[in-house]
C-alpha cells in the first residue's frame, strides 16, 4: 500500500459529471492521461468527453456494422482500438476519433483487444485465432486455430501473450513465434487475469469455479463453490489480491504468505444483484464494483481480502463497465441505458487514521 492509508468508511464519491450515449454502453476508458474519457456503445457509437467536465469532444455512429464488441485504449493514451461483429478492428486517434487504420480479419466476431504494457503491440482475438499487430496496424503474428473460440487474452510480459479457451491457457512468444507454455484443464474458461508480474494465471470457469496456476512453481489450484460463473476477475497492482465474482458477492483471494490455498477468502456483500463489472484501482487496494442493480461500490481491502465500503453510488441501471482514472482520483461507470457517470474520488494520501483516544 504505497500511497493510501486506511480510514473509517465514509462516502468517497463526490459529484463529478454525467453524460449520455445513444445505446447500451459496453466499453469505456481514459485517454490522454485522464484528460479524455471515451465510451463505446453496443451499436457501435463512440463518444469522447472531456475528462474533467464531461463536455462532448467528438462522437461517431455505427463504427462497426452489427455492433461494437471491444475497445482498448493505448497505454500512452493517444490512440485506441475498437472491434466488432463485422470482423474488423479500427485503430483511431483519440483527439478527433479519426480512423488511422482498419484491419479486416474476416467473418468472425472480434471480441477481445489488448495493448501490450509498452504499447508496441495490439493483440486481437477473433473466433479461434489470435493476431498481433503493431501500433500502426502492421501484422506481426498470427496463432494457429485454438481448440475453441478464444475467450480471453492478456499480456504476461512485453513479448508474451496468454490466451484462454476451452480446456487450456497458452503462452506464446509472439516475437519468436514459439509456444512457451500450455496449461491444460478440462473446463470452459470464461475469463482470465494475470498478476502484474505475469506469474499467476487466474481463470473463471463455466462450472462456477476459479482455477489458477503459478507459472514459476507449476502449482495449480481450483477454488469451487461460486454461485455463478466467475466472469469478473481483477488483480490489485501488487498482485497480492485477486477479486473474483460470479454473483452479487465478491470473493477476494489473498496471495500473501501461503495463500490462497487453505485460507478463507475475503467476502464483500454490498450488492443485491450479480456483479457486472469489477476493477481494482491503478494503485493500492481499492476495488470498485458495479452490479446489474445499478449500484457502484468502492471498497478498501485489507491484506486478508476482507474490507469495508468507502463509498457507494447509484448508476441508474446495469453497470456495463467501470474504470478508474489513471490517477485514481475519479471513477467512471457506464450503464445499460447509455448513461455515463463520473465521480470524483477523494483519496487522502497523507491522512493517518489515529482512531479514538
Amino acid at each position: 500500500m504505497p500511497d493510501i492509508e486506511p480510514f473509517s468508511p465514509r462516502g468517497m464519491f463526490h459529484e463529478g459529471w454525467t453524460a449520455e450515449v445513444n445505446d447500451y454502453a459496453i466499453a469505456c476508458g481514459w485517454a490522454l492521461k485522464g484528460k479524455q474519457f471515451i465510451v463505446g456503445d453496443v451499436a457501435g457509437g463512440l463518444f469522447a468527453f472531456e475528462g474533467d467536465t464531461g463536455k462532448i469532444i467528438w462522437e461517431k455512429e455505427k463504427t462497426h456494422s452489427g455492433g461494437l464488441l471491444a475497445m482498448a485504449i493505448h497505454p500512452e493514451g493517444e490512440i485506441f482500438a475498437t472491434s466488432g461483429q463485422d470482423g474488423k478492428v479500427q485503430i483511431c486517434n483519440c483527439h478527433e476519433g479519426k480512423v488511422i487504420k482498419t484491419l479486416d480479419l474476416g467473418k468472425g466476431w472480434v471480441e477481445h483487444l489488448k495493448w501490450s504494457n509498452d504499447g508496441l503491440f495490439l493483440a486481437i482475438a477473433s473466433s479461434k485465432k489470435v493476431y498481433v499487430f503493431n501500433e500502426i496496424g502492421k501484422k506481426k503474428w498470427i496463432s494457429e486455430d485454438h481448440p475453441s473460440t478464444v475467450s480471453a487474452i492478456s499480456w504476461s510480459n512485453k513479448n508474451e501473450l496468454a490466451t484462454a479457451c476451452y480446456g487450456r491457457v497458452t503462452f506464446f512468444d509472439i516475437v519468436n513465434n514459439k509456444t512457451n507454455q500450455k496449461l491444460e484443464w478440462q473446463g470452459s474458461l470464461v475469463s482470465m487475469e494475470l498478476s502484474p508480474d505475469g506469474d499467476i494465471v487466474a481463470c473463471g470457469s463455466q462450472d462456477n469455479s476459479v482455477h489458477f496456476w503459478r507459472r514459476s512453481t507449476g502449482m495449480d489450484a481450483e477454488m469451487t463453490g461460486y454461485p455463478g460463473k466467475p466472469s469478473h476477475l481483477s488483480f490489485d497492482d501488487s498482485g497480492k489480491l485477486l477479486a473474483t465474482s460470479g454473483s452479487e458477492r465478491i470473493t477476494v483471494w489473498s496471495f500473501i504468505g501461503n495463500g490462497p490455498e487453505g485460507t478463507m477468502p475475503g467476502e464483500l456483500c454490498h450488492h443485491t444483484e450479480p456483479i457486472s463489472s469489477l476493477a481494482f484501482s491503478n494503485k493500492g487496494m481499492l476495488v470498485a464494483s458495479g452490479s446489474r442493480d445499478g449500484s457502484v461500490v468502492a471498497s478498501f481491502l485489507k491484506k486478508d481480502g476482507n474490507g469495508d465500503p468507502v463509498g457507494a453510488a447509484f448508476a441508474g441501471d446495469l453497470v456495463g463497465a467501470i474504470t478508474w482514472r489513471p490517477d485514481d482520483c475519479a471513477l467512471a461507470a457506464v450503464n445499460a441505458k447509455g448513461l455515463v457517470n463520473v465521480w470524483n474520488f477523494k483519496v487522502s494520501t497523507n491522512l493517518v487514521s489515529k482512531g479514538f483516544k
Partner: protein, 449 residues
C-alpha cells in the same frame, strides 16, 4: 425479472435434409409481427433481410466433472450474452442446430448458465423429420432419436413422398418414443407459424389440453362396453376383423361410472396377465377369466353368454367392438342389445425403440422431502438417460400446484396456480432411453402420503 419479461427461444433441430432451412425461411419471411434474431449453426445462406442472423460454430463444452448434464453450448452463451444487450432490436430468438447436434447441451444452456437463464426462456424444441428417411436414421444414429425425444413439436415433413399407411406407422413409432410431443404433418415445411413459435411448450397444461389422455397408463385392451342384460341366453357375434383371435374378459355386475370402469380395468389387467383360455365359436364365455376368442373362420362367429339373473355385463376387449362389428344379441328375440356405456383405453403396444416415454398419474399429495430424495436419486442415477421431464405435483399443505420441468438431471420446480376445487393429483412424464416404468412408478408411489 419475471418470466413474462424473458425473451422466448425456440430451438430448431432435425437431420440434414429434413427441411430446417426451408422452415426458417418461411418463419422469417412471414408477417407475424415478431422481430426474430436467428442464431444459425453453419455459414448458411438464409438471405433474409428481416431479422438478425448471427452465425455461430457449435461449441459443446463439457465440464471438468465430466457430467454430460452440465454440458453447455459455449457459442450460444457468447452470442446470447451479446444479444441480451440489444433487447430493443428483437423479441424472439430462434436457434438452429446442425443435423447431428445433440439437443441436450442446447437446452441445458438455458438452465445451467445463470446469465442466460435470467434473460431468456426456452419456449420449445421443434424437430423436423424427413418422413421418407427417418426410419433409417432412427436405426442408425443416437442423435436422431434424441432429437425426436427432446421435441415439443415434431414436424413430419415431406409427407408427399410417403404413403398414408407408412405415415400412420411412422407417427405411431414417433409417438411411442415421445408421448409429449405434438406431431404435425407437412409438405415442404408448410406449417402454421403458431405451431412452432410461442408454444410455451414447457407448459404441461398445453399438452394436456391438446391430448387429455396422454398421461393415462396403457392397458392390454382397447375397449370396454357395459350392457344391461335381463336373465336369458345371449349371443356375442363377431365378424371378420384385423386379427384371427381376440382376448376378452367379461364381468358381471360391472358399473358404468368412471370409477367403476377403472376398477374393472384394474381387475382385467390382472386377469390379462394370466394365460388366456382359448375359446372356439359356439361355446359359452366364462366370467372373470382371460379368454381368447378364436376368430379364424370366415363370416359370423357366435359365442354364448348365459345370464342367470338380470345384471350389467362388462366386456373388456383387446380391440374395439367396431373393428369386429361386435354385437350382443338376445337369442330368443334375435334382437340387438346396445351397450349402455363404452370406454376406450390407451392401448398397450410393442416398444421397439430404446427411447420411450413413461407417464405417472396419481391422485393425492406427495411428501416434498420424499419426492426430492427420490427425484434427486433418480436423476443422479439415470439423468444421462432421462432426456426430458415435465409434470405437476401436489405438495401436501401447499395450496398451489407445483409445476416442474427438466432436461437431463437439471430440473426446476415452481409454484403454479392454486388447486381450488380441482382434485389434487400428480402427473409426471419422463422421456428417455431404456427407462424402467415399473421401478419408477413404484418409486413415485412411495412418495405419496
Amino acid at each position: 425479472m419475471s418470466i413474462k419479461d424473458k425473451i422466448p427461444v425456440t430451438i430448431l433441430t432435425g437431420f440434414l435434409g429434413s427441411g430446417k432451412t426451408t422452415l426458417l425461411n418461411r418463419i422469417l419471411s412471414e408477417e407475424h409481427g415478431k422481430r426474430i434474431a436467428v442464431i444459425e449453426n453453419e455459414y448458411g445462406e438464409v438471405g433474409i433481410d428481416q431479422g438478425l442472423v448471427i452465425n455461430a460454430d457449435e461449441e459443446v463444452f463439457e465440464m471438468s466433472n465430466g457430467c454430460i448434464c452440465c454440458t453447455v453450448r459455449g457459442d450460444l452463451i457468447r452470442v446470447l450474452g451479446n444479444l441480451m444487450k440489444r433487447r430493443d432490436k428483437f423479441d424472439y430468438v430462434l436457434v438452429e442446430t446442425t443435423g447431428l447436434a445433440d439437443p441436450g447441451p442446447v437446452a441445458q444452456t438455458f438452465f445451467m448458465d445463470e446469465e442466460i437463464s435470467s434473460e431468456f426462456t426456452l419456449d420449445g424444441i421443434v424437430t423436423l423429420v424427413d418422413a421418407a428417411h427417418i426410419d433409417q436414421q432412427l436405426g442408425r444414429s443416437d442423435e436422431s432419436s434424441e432429437q425426436v425425444a427432446f421435441a415439443d413439436v415434431l414436424v413430419l415433413n415431406k409427407t408427399d413422398l410417403v404413403s398414408d399407411d407408412a405415415l400412420d406407422t411412422l407417427e405411431s413409432r414417433l409417438r411411442d418414443m415421445n408421448r409429449m410431443t405434438r406431431i404435425i404433418r407437412a409438405e415442404n415445411a408448410q406449417v402454421p407459424i403458431e405451431t412452432v413459435l410461442n408454444l410455451s411448450a414447457f407448459d404441461l397444461d398445453q399438452i394436456l389440453k391438446r391430448r387429455p389422455t396422454f398421461l393415462e397408463p396403457e392397458y392390454p385392451f382397447e375397449w370396454t362396453g357395459v350392457y344391461d342384460l335381463a336373465a336369458g341366453k345371449y349371443e356375442l357375434n363377431l365378424q371378420e376383423g384385423p386379427d384371427p383371435e381376440m382376448s376378452l374378459v367379461a364381468f358381471t355386475n360391472q358399473g358404468s361410472t368412471e370409477e367403476e370402469l377403472k376398477d374393472g380395468a384394474e381387475s382385467s389387467v390382472r386377469l390379462y396377465a394370466e394365460k388366456a383360455k382359448s375359446l372356439e365359436p359356439g361355446n359359452s364365455i366364462p366370467f372373470g377369466e382371460h379368454i381368447n376368442l378364436q376368430l379364424e373362420d370366415k363370416g359370423n362367429k357366435s359365442f354364448i353368454l348365459n345370464i342367470e339373473k338380470s345384471t350389467k355385463i362388462g366386456l373388456f376387449t383387446q380391440h374395439t367392438a367396431e373393428e369386429f362389428n361386435m354385437k350382443v344379441i338376445k337369442s330368443d328375440e334375435n334382437k340387438e342389445i346396445p351397450f349402455n356405456t363404452e370406454r376406450f383405453w390407451q392401448a398397450e403396444h410393442e416398444h421397439d425403440d430404446e427411447v420411450g416415454s413413461i407417464a405417472i398419474e396419481r391422485f393425492g399429495d406427495v411428501d416434498p422431502e420424499k419426492l426430492n430424495t427420490w427425484m434427486g436419486r433418480l436423476l443422479s442415477e439415470k439423468g444421462v438417460d432421462i432426456f426430458r421431464t415435465k409434470g405437476f405435483i401436489s405438495y401436501s399443505g401447499n395450496p398451489r400446484r407445483i409445476v416442474f420441468q427438466g432436461v437431463h438431471m437439471l430440473f426446476t420446480a415452481q409454484p403454479d396456480k392454486e388447486w381450488g376445487n380441482e382434485p389434487r393429483r400428480n402427473q409426471l412424464v419422463f422421456i428417455g432411453r431404456n427407462l424402467n416404468e415399473k421401478e419408477m412408478q413404484e418409486g413415485f408411489d412411495k412418495c405419496l402420503i
